[in-house]
Amino acid sequence: MTVHHLVILPILLPLLCGAVLVPFTQGRHELKFALSYASVLGLLVTACALMVQADGGAWPEGIGVYLAANWAAPFGIALVADRLAALMLLLTAVLALASLHFAMKRWSRIGVHFHSLFQFLLMGINGAFLTHDLFNLFVFFEVMLAASYGLVLHGYNAERLRASMQYIAVNLAAALLFLIGTALIYASTGTLNMADLAVRISAIAPENIGLLKVGVAVLALAFLVKSAMWPLGFWLPTTYAAASPPVAAMLVLMTKVGAYVILRLWLLLFGDEAGAAAGFGYDALVWGGMATIVFGAAGMLSTDTAGRMAGYSAVVSSGTLLAVIGYGQPSLVTAGLYYLIGSTLAVAAFLLLIELIDRIRTPSAAMLALTMEAWAVEDTPDEPRGKGVPAAMAFLSLAFTACALMIAGLPPLSGFVAKFSMFHALLNPESGSGSIDATGWTLMALVVVSGLIAIISMMRFGVRTFWAAEMVTPPRLHLSEVAPVTALLLLSLAMTVQARPLFDYLGRASADLHDPGRYARQVLPGPVVPKPGEAP
C-alpha cells in the first residue's frame, strides 16, 4: 500500500504559504502575490492529480484514504479523497485562481494580510472537503470562517463592518449548534468518524435513535446556515453585496461547502442501509430547499442593486441543490452536482463582473478613498490604468449576457444543460411505479419559474445599465480583471461542450456516494503504514 501523501497536500500547502506570508510587509506586495499565486497553482495541479488518481483506478474503489499521524480509523482522523472531493478541490482551485488574479492590481494591495487570509480560507475549504471526521470538520469550518471574517472586512468601510457584524454573529451561533450536534452524535453512537457512523447507525440501540436524530438535525442546522436555507439565510445577500468582489466570489463557494457536507452526510447516514433511521430528514430538505428557491426568486425581483441580485441568485442555486439532495434519487444527484459546478462558476463570474460594470457609473477612485484613509496605506495602489481594452463596453455587455444565460438556465450555456438533466432525471424516476409525485412536479415548476424570474430581473438590470444610462463613460478595464471573468465563462462553455464526459464522471461520483458500505470497507480496516523495516 503506497502512502497517499498527496491527499493532505491541499491542506498543508495553503497553511504553509499563508504562514510564510504573514511577516512580509505590504511593501513586498509583488513577492506576496507571487507566492500566493504559486500556492494556488500548486493546488490546481494537486487537485487535477487527485482527480486522475481517484478516477484512474490508482486507488481501490476510487477512494484514497490518508490516516493522519498513522492512527487507525476510527480512532484517528481520516482524510478521504474520492471523486467528488477531488472535483470540489478542483473547483476551489479554479475559483481561487480567478479571484486572486482579479485581485492582482487592486484588491490584494489594500489592507495588510489579504494573501494570508486568502490562503487560510483555502485551507479551511479544502480541509472541509477532505476530512472524514465530524469534529475535524468543525475545526476546518472554523478555520474557513475565521479567514472569511477577515476577508469580508477587507477594504474596511462602514458597510462592510455592518455586514460582517451580522455575518460573524450568525456564524458564531451556528458554530455552537455544530458543537451541540457533534456532541449528541458522539453521545448516541460513540464515534465521530463518518464511515464508522454509517456502519453503526444500522445497529444502533432503539432508545438512542431519537438522540441521534436530534443530534444530526442540530448539526444540519449549522450547515444549512452556511448554505442559506430559508429561513436561515437572511445574512447572505447583505454579506455578498458588501464584500469586495474577489472575496464575494470565494463566498459563493462557501455556501456550496454546506450543501456538499449535507449531501455527503445524508447519503452516508440515512441511505437505504441505515435501518430504523433510513430516510430521515429528506422531506425537510426538499421542502426547505423549495422554500429557499421561492425566497431567492422573490429577492431577485425585489432588488435593483447588482450585488444583492447576485446574492439572491446564490440563494436560489443553493435552494435548488438542497431540494435535489432531499429528493433522494441518484440520477438527480448527478444532475445536481453538474448544476453545483455550473452555478458556482456563473455566480462567481457575475460577482467579479459587477465591479467592472459599476465603473460605467462611478469613477473608480471614489471607492478606494475611504479604505486608503482607514488603513493609512502609504503605498498607493496603482489605479488599474489599463490601456482601455478595446470595446470595453462590448465585453461587459457580452459577459453580462453570458452570466444571465447561465444563472437563468437558458441555452446554450451550462445552466441549460444542468436544468435539462434535472428535469430528465425527475421525469424518469428510477424506482416505484414510474409516476411522478406532487413534490417532483412542484420542484420542476419552481425551477422553471425561478429561471424566468432570474431572466426578468437580469434583463431589467442590463437594460438600465447598458441601454438607458445617459452618462455612460467607457470604463477602463485592466487585462488582469477581464481575464478571470472570461476564463470562468469559457469554462462554463467547455462544460457544455464536454457535458458527456463530465456527466460520466459525476455519475461515478454519485454512485460512490450512494454506497456507504464502500467507504466503510476502505476507511475502517485502517491501511496503517507499516513501521520502517517492517513487512506490510
Binding site: 475565521a146 471574517y149 463592518l161 460573524i168 453521545a187
Partner: protein
C-alpha cells in the same frame, strides 16, 4: 447531579440566547460567550457524568475503560474552548472597529429612531 447540570446548562444557554437578541453589541458578545460556556459544559457532559474517575492510568498498568471517564469529550472541549475564545476575540475587535467607525454600539451601526 444530572438534574443540576442540565438546569445549569439550560439556564446559561437561555440567558445567552436572550442576550444575543439584544440590540447593543456588548450584550450580543456576552450572549455568545455565555452560549459557548453552556455548549462546552454540554460537550463535557456528553461523555456521561463520572465522579472521581479521571482518564489517567498509572505507568505500567493496563487501563480498564469501564471505570474511567471518557477522555474524548474532554479533548473535544479543549479544542472547542480554544476556537471559541479566538473567534469571540475576533468578534470583539470587529465590534470595537464598528464603534469607532459608526460612533454607536448598536448592532445595526445606527441608533434607532425614537
Amino acid at each position: 447531579m444530572e438534574l443540576a447540570l442540565s438546569l445549569a446548562i439550560g439556564i446559561i444557554f437561555g440567558a445567552g440566547i436572550w442576550l444575543l437578541l439584544r440590540p447593543r453589541s456588548f450584550q450580543v458578545l456576552t450572549g455568545l460567550m455565555l452560549m459557548s460556556y453552556a455548549v462546552n459544559l454540554f460537550i463535557f457532559v456528553m461523555g456521561r457524568v463520572w465522579l472521581d474517575q479521571p482518564p489517567l492510568t498509572p505507568a505500567g498498568s493496563t487501563p480498564d475503560p469501564r471505570v474511567l471517564a471518557d477522555p474524548l469529550p474532554q479533548a473535544l472541549v479543549l479544542t472547542a474552548i480554544v476556537i471559541g475564545f479566538a473567534t469571540t476575540a475576533l468578534y470583539l475587535v470587529v465590534m470595537i472597529g464598528a464603534r469607532g467607525l459608526t460612533g454607536t454600539d448598536h448592532v445595526d451601526g445606527e441608533e434607532p429612531e425614537l
